[in-house]
């Protein structure tokens, strides 16, 4: 399944100066940037400090029994100022990465065989374009979503409200640590921090068993990934002797490995170093919900919707993408890491898209679509376009947050109703115009309608898959998945927002069977946030046309940001290689795998350059998906593009087709029984083993412990008579004791001959 030669050959191709990512031909300018790491101004620490402060303040509010919206405003203000600070940091950034030191954290100095070593992990922050890029949307979205949540959570005013915003503030702090930390240990701190906040917020409705189960599931599945990351961090330290990015990515050993990777000579790289990216990858798969560790994310939708939007769609789940982008140089040293990343991403994208097609819960559909889109991002990283992956992170963050918040507004307004068979024609209900608009903009982005942000970012990934040797299969699967995505996205839109008005109250409604049910339309906070996000989602497509840099040969904003960071696989690592290849005029330069690359590179897709052709091809797939959705799910009339035929909420043209397909739709609806399979092959055996160990513990270990607890008492009972209180007895005992001890020594002398 995994074409292990494609990375080898691709990297080899870099020697000739052929840029794989044709959006960024021959980037060499940033070569020396990573080496120069200056010190930054201290006010940047506000980005870290303020969210932490807001979290503590929320705790204090809870203690003093606050029952107002004060926690929300505190967090909005804290995140807002953090966003403005990030903006200021961006404006003042001159292209040279720098670190900001908060305080010394871990500094261990020790001696080992190789001389004195030290492990340094300070509480300090590494600022480069990747950091700024990430922090801009993290703090920005956090502010908007906190504002949304101030209204959304208002039914819970009091301690729970404080708890929600306390965890929210802590999340922003942790995410900032993860993204901004200047060493892998800080990243790990943030990684665990966001995991904890995710756990706390999924289990926010802790009286609901499903929420508790989902929280536990998220935490446990993430533990598996975290173990991988932790092992990767250990191994990095053991192998490279440093965890600080500024040192690590300039490590001559690492640069040497990359040089040999470019020549395709992976045997020169120690096995141990090759393990590091594989372990990081496991961590990234856990946090970013990739196959086979994706199962926690759909269940995580049990948390309040703002949480789903911020943590489980826009920011936290992209931490895995960030990790791989940040440690991209290390991924280049492994023969298998990037191909695995690409394939896992692709499989996840396809698998979860098929599941999303058969779900009826709109929030759940969005959850699976998140998993699917994350799959795209990983595929992008895997096919050597970190730009595509990272750009998709940004566009996805906006439109998916928007989609979730729209779903949340529906859920909020219709008393928890999320079933698309019980909602119809919301666009015609008074007060739902902005939600409908937001949903529409989100849907066209997700479906990849031409000229939307989602179209450009997804397109970058798919096109790159076709030009990366050996990965064209990935490209076809992703292209097919894009069609499925368009279908399931517009299935939601056509079912819920168009057609005849019809709605049933959800389970949270406490009235007379919904006859007197009146949905309450979202208020100003929700609407303004939705409008802002709608504008952002549209504007994100503009980033594809601006922000290019002629010096670095980057074409657009995201690329400029990525190529100036450690995620740039070409510089500084390729610089020497390119020069070497050009200078040496190696007669064998054209032989070997590169010959095939040139062939593959020139291979046109449908008679043209893949990058150009892909605009049309993927547009066709997207439009076909939408038309299918309109045909099968759309209502009668113009709302269904004149091809729909739905007349009520519950039934559509898809139903008879689904029945013809036999058990397949049912299987997709039941998520291909992946949870059940996991339960059977993992959970049940573990449960059995745990029961066995429980009994071993109870009988054997406890027994041993009890014996050890009993022995001293037994000894005491034996010794007690010696304390008779009789003077003569004591004197005799003492003299006897002296004699016995002297005799013992005498015996030792006799036996050992020591004197």
């Amino acid at each position: 399944m995994i074409n292990t030669t494609f990375l080898t050959s691709t990297l080899a191709m870099l020697q000739d100066g052929h840029a794989v990512d044709t959006h960024a031909p021959a980037v060499t300018h940033a070569a020396t940037q990573i080496a120069e790491v200056g010190t930054g101004p201290k006010w940047i620490l506000l980005i870290i400090g303020l969210p932490f402060l807001t979290s503590i303040l929320c705790g204090i509010y809870a203690m003093i029994g606050n029952k107002t919206k004060l926690p929300a405003w505190t967090v909005v203000a804290g995140s807002g100022i953090a966003f403005l600070t990030t903006l200021a940091m961006y404006m003042s950034f001159d292209g040279t990465p720098y670190t900001v030191h908060a305080f010394d954290w871990i500094q261990v100095h020790f001696s080992s065989e190789g001389g004195d070593k030290s492990m340094i992990a300070n509480f300090s922050f590494y600022i480069d374009t990747l950091t700024i890029y990430w922090m801009l949307f993290v703090t920005g979205l956090a502010t908007l979503i906190a504002l949304y949540a101030s209204e959304y959570m208002s039914h819970d005013l009091g301690t729970s409200y404080c708890r929600f915003f306390g965890a929210f503030g802590l999340f922003v702090f942790s995410m900032a640590c993860l993204v901004m930390g200047d060493n892998l240990l800080m990243l790990y701190l943030g990684w665990e921090g966001v995991g904890l906040c995710s756990y706390l917020l999924i289990g926010y409705f802790y009286k609901k068993p499903e929420a508790v189960a989902a929280a536990k599931k998220a935490f446990i599945v993430n533990r598996i990934g975290d173990l991988g990351l932790a092992l990767g961090v250990y191994l990095t330290f053991v192998h490279f002797g440093s965890l600080e990015y500024a040192v690590l990515f300039n490590d001559p050993t690492l640069l040497g490995y990359i040089e040999s990777a470019k020549t395709g000579d992976f045997s020169a790289i120690p096995r141990m170093a090759q393990w590091i990216p594989l372990l990081f990858m496991v961590g990234a798969f856990g946090k970013s919900a990739q196959f086979p560790l994706y199962v926690w994310l759909p269940d995580a939708m049990e948390g309040p919707t703002p949480v789903s939007a911020l943590i489980h769609a826009a920011t936290m789940v992209t931490a895995g993408v960030y990790l791989i982008a940040r440690t991209y140089p290390m991924f280049l040293t492994s023969e298998y890491a990037l191909p695995i990343v690409a394939w896992v991403g692709t499989i996840t994208a396809l698998l979860s898209a098929t599941i999303a097609m058969a779900q009826f819960d709109i929030k759940r559909i969005m959850a699976y679509s998140t998993v699917s889109q994350l799959g795209y991002m990983f595929a992008g990283l895997g096919v050597l376009t970190p730009t595509g992956g990272v750009y998709h992170v940004l566009t996805h963050a906006f439109f998916k947050a928007l989609l979730f918040l729209c779903c949340g507004a529906v859920m909020h307004g219709f008393a928890g109703q999320l079933d698309l068979r019980k909602l119809s024609g919301l666009r015609s209900v008074k007060g739902w115009g902005i939600v409908t608009l937001g949903m529409f903009i989100g849907c066209i982005n997700l479906a990849g309608v031409p000229f939307t942000a989602g179209f450009f970012s997804k397109d970058t990934i798919i096109a790159e898959a076709f030009v990366t040797p050996g990965a064209s299969m990935i490209g076809w699967i992703l292209l097919f998945t894009a069609g499925l995505t368009a279908y399931y996205t517009f299935r939601v839109f056509f079912r819920v927002f168009t057609g005849p008005v019809e709605y049933h109250a959800g389970e949270e409604h406490h009235g007379d069977d919904g006859h007197d049910f009146h949905p309450h339309a979202p208020g100003w906070a929700v609407n303004s946030v939705l409008l802002t996000l709608t504008v952002c989602s549209i504007a994100a497509s503009g980033l594809y046309f601006v922000g290019g840099n002629k010096d670095t040969h980057t074409k657009h904003y995201a690329q400029t940001m990525v190529m100036a960071s450690t995620a740039n696989y070409e510089s500084p690592y390729s610089k020497h290689a390119i020069h070497a290849a050009h200078d040496s005029h190696d007669p064998n330069a054209g032989a070997g795998p590169r010959g095939t690359i040139d062939h593959e590179l020139s291979m046109p897709i449908i008679g043209g350059d893949p990058h150009k052709v892909m605009y049309y091809v993927s547009a066709v797939f997207g439009v076909v998906g939408i038309l299918l959705a309109a045909l099968l799910q759309g209502p009668k009339g113009w709302q269904g593009l004149f091809i729909g035929g739905r007349t009520n909420a519950a039934e559509c043209r898809m139903d008879p087709i689904a029945r013809m397909c036999g058990p397949i739709p049912k299987m997709a609806e039941n998520k291909w029984y992946v949870d059940e399979i996991y339960h059977m092959i993992l959970v049940t055996p573990l449960r059995i083993i745990s029961h066995i160990f429980h009994w071993i513990d109870k009988l054997l270990v406890d027994g041993l412990v009890n014996i050890f607890g009993f022995l001293p008492r037994l000894l005491a009972w034996i010794l007690k008579p010696s304390q008779s209180g009789v003077l003569q007895g004591y004197a005799v005992s003492m003299a006897g004791g002296v004699t016995i001890l002297l005799l013992v020594v005498f015996v030792i002398i006799l036996q050992g001959g020591v004197a």
């Binding site: 001293p712 007690k720 016995i740 001890l741 013992v744 020591v754």
Partner: protein, 527 residues
């Protein structure tokens, strides 16, 4: 001999104060009588300050041990003085309050404080000892007054019985180690410890020398309440008034350890930091048995004083690990130096144990016949944190510290013993030390639980505060010490480390043959 006077200025100060105390203790004027403890306290402060400034004896085996040891002795003794008030003459003073005349013949205050001061003087002299005879006299000066103090500490027969036991068994112990001293003198031909050390290092221990050292160490185990001479401990601690018990826990034990350090130093630790195998194996057995016996028997006690007596035995076992570890090679850091660990632990132990004894002295229970008696049963401490929070928390803090609960003082002390033992390669005894710390947790935590966890709504006995607030003060000082000494733990540890700087005798000739000592001594002279 006069040059030795320079080293014993603190002892001289204490001696002068003792003479003063003997007079003021039974002065007819109440104010002057009441000033007696202050004289002791002032003398101890002076002595401690002078001791800290006095340089050590460069000729001694431990050249710097004197200033540090005398300083901690003075410091703990000040706590003891605060704790001792009101132990004797209580009925007499009550009578004086009721208008009866003061009868010096009935008063024991003068003797009591004078004997206390004599004992502390003896303890400091033990630290100064560089000679077997001096060591013996100093040890006896430390112990003899305590026999009488036990006897007069209460009017109960129990105290007298305890005193008689203590005296006879103490005489037995003294006889044993004096016998050992005699044998050492017989083997080495000198009573000077440094000369003995040189002799042993040049000529080996020899059978007589070995017997002398072993017997002396066994005799000294009486002072530190270790196997096999530990039997008296619970009876005597229980029989004496708790302020005196507190003193017994610290003073003879410190004297005993100073003497053991001096005696083992004459034998010396080899280049691997080990004692001679015979001495080591005996001390090993002593340490292991002492820990086990002390801790296991403490489990069964309901009397807090007896429990503390067994805990005292156990702590001696812990500290013997430090002797086994030894001072380590030249310039060894604190964590390798077992002697430094002992010197630091003695201070920790003194402070912690006085805290619990002070609380016992600070609460009284009213008996059915109207008399009052000291708290002793563990039930008397029930719910103390609620009824008397200051005393309750003192018990909690001190008991946790004795258990070695981080980050309290006892933990740091025990850490030194553990690390010294491990670095010296004495892994099995350190494992035993760890096991025993775990066993000890049971009874220390019971103390904590009774004082802290119990709500105190059903007091088993009617406990009232003792009229002597100074005992509460002593308890609070101890508890504060357990916490606050952490702040100055570093200088104290450095002091202990400096004090434990071992001045190993330089062998005169490396290829010395042990069976012909005289000829080689002669050869040395010719060179």
């Amino acid at each position: 001999m006069t040059e030795k006077l320079a080293f014993i200025i603190p002892e001289l100060i204490l001696f002068i104060a003792t003479c003063l105390v003997m007079v003021t203790g039974q002065w007819p004027v109440r104010a002057i009588r009441n000033f007696t403890p202050w004289i002791c306290g002032i003398a101890l402060v002076l002595a401690g300050m002078v001791a800290a400034m006095t340089p050590g004896d460069p000729a001694a085996l431990f050249p710097n041990i004197m200033p540090y040891a005398k300083f901690i002795i003075a410091a703990v003794a000040i706590l003891l003085v605060i704790n001792l008030t009101g132990t004797v003459d209580r009925e007499l003073e009550d009578d004086v309050d009721n208008g009866k005349p003061f009868l010096p013949i009935r008063s024991t205050g003068a003797e009591f404080y004078a004997f206390f001061m004599f004992s502390i003087t003896g303890l400091m002299l033990t630290a100064s000892a560089d000679d077997l005879i001096w060591l013996f006299l100093a040890l006896e000066l430390t112990s003899l007054p305590t026999y009488i103090m036990v006897a007069i500490s209460t009017h109960k027969n129990q105290s007298r019985e305890a005193a008689v036991k203590y005296f006879f068994l103490g005489a037995l112990g003294a006889a044993i180690f004096l016998y050992g001293f005699a044998l050492i003198y017989g083997a080495a031909g000198s009573t000077n410890l440094s000369e003995i050390a040189v002799h042993f290092s040049d000529n080996g221990l020899g059978t007589i020398g070995l017997a002398g050292v072993l017997i002396a160490l066994l005799g000294m185990s009486f002072k530190i309440a270790a196997i096999p001479m530990h039997f008296y401990t619970p009876d005597v601690y229980q029989g004496a008034a708790s302020p005196v018990s507190a003193m017994l826990a610290f003073v003879p034990k410190t004297a005993g350890f100073l003497a053991i350090i001096a005696i083992t130093a004459t034998v010396g630790w080899n280049e691997f930091g080990r004692l001679p195998a015979t001495v080591e194996s005996m001390l090993w057995i002593m340490a292991a048995l002492t820990m086990f016996v002390g801790n296991t028997l403490a489990l069964l006690q309901t009397s807090v004083k007896r429990m503390l007596a067994y805990s005292s035995i156990a702590h001696s076992g812990y500290m013997l690990v430090g002797i086994l570890a030894g001072p380590g090679p030249d310039g060894a850091p604190f964590y390798r130096n077992g002697i430094a660990a002992i010197l630091f632990y003695l201070l920790c132990y003194g402070v912690m144990t006085i805290g619990v004894f002070a609380v016992l002295g600070a609460i009284e229970k009213r008996n059915a016949d109207g008399t009052t008696s000291e708290a002793d049963d563990i039930e008397d401490l029930r719910g103390l944190c609620k009824t008397h929070p200051v005393l309750g928390w003192t018990v909690v803090v001190c008991a946790l510290s004795m258990l070695g609960f981080p980050p309290l003082l006892g933990f740091i002390g025990k850490l030194g013993l553990f690390s010294a033992g491990i670095s010296a390669g004495q892994i099995p005894i350190v494992i035993i030390l760890g096991l025993n710390s775990a066993i000890a947790a049971v009874y220390y935590l019971r103390l904590v639980a009774v004082a802290y966890l119990d709500k105190g709504d059903k007091p088993a006995t009617v406990a009232t505060l003792s009229p002597y607030a100074s005992r509460r003060l002593a308890g609070v000082c101890s508890a504060a010490g357990v916490v606050l000494l952490l702040v100055v733990a570093q200088p104290l540890i450095e002091g202990a480390h400096k004090a434990a700087d071992f001045n190993a005798p330089v062998p005169h000739q490396t290829d010395t043959q042990q069976d012909q000592p005289a000829e080689h001594a002669l050869a040395d002279h010719e060179e």
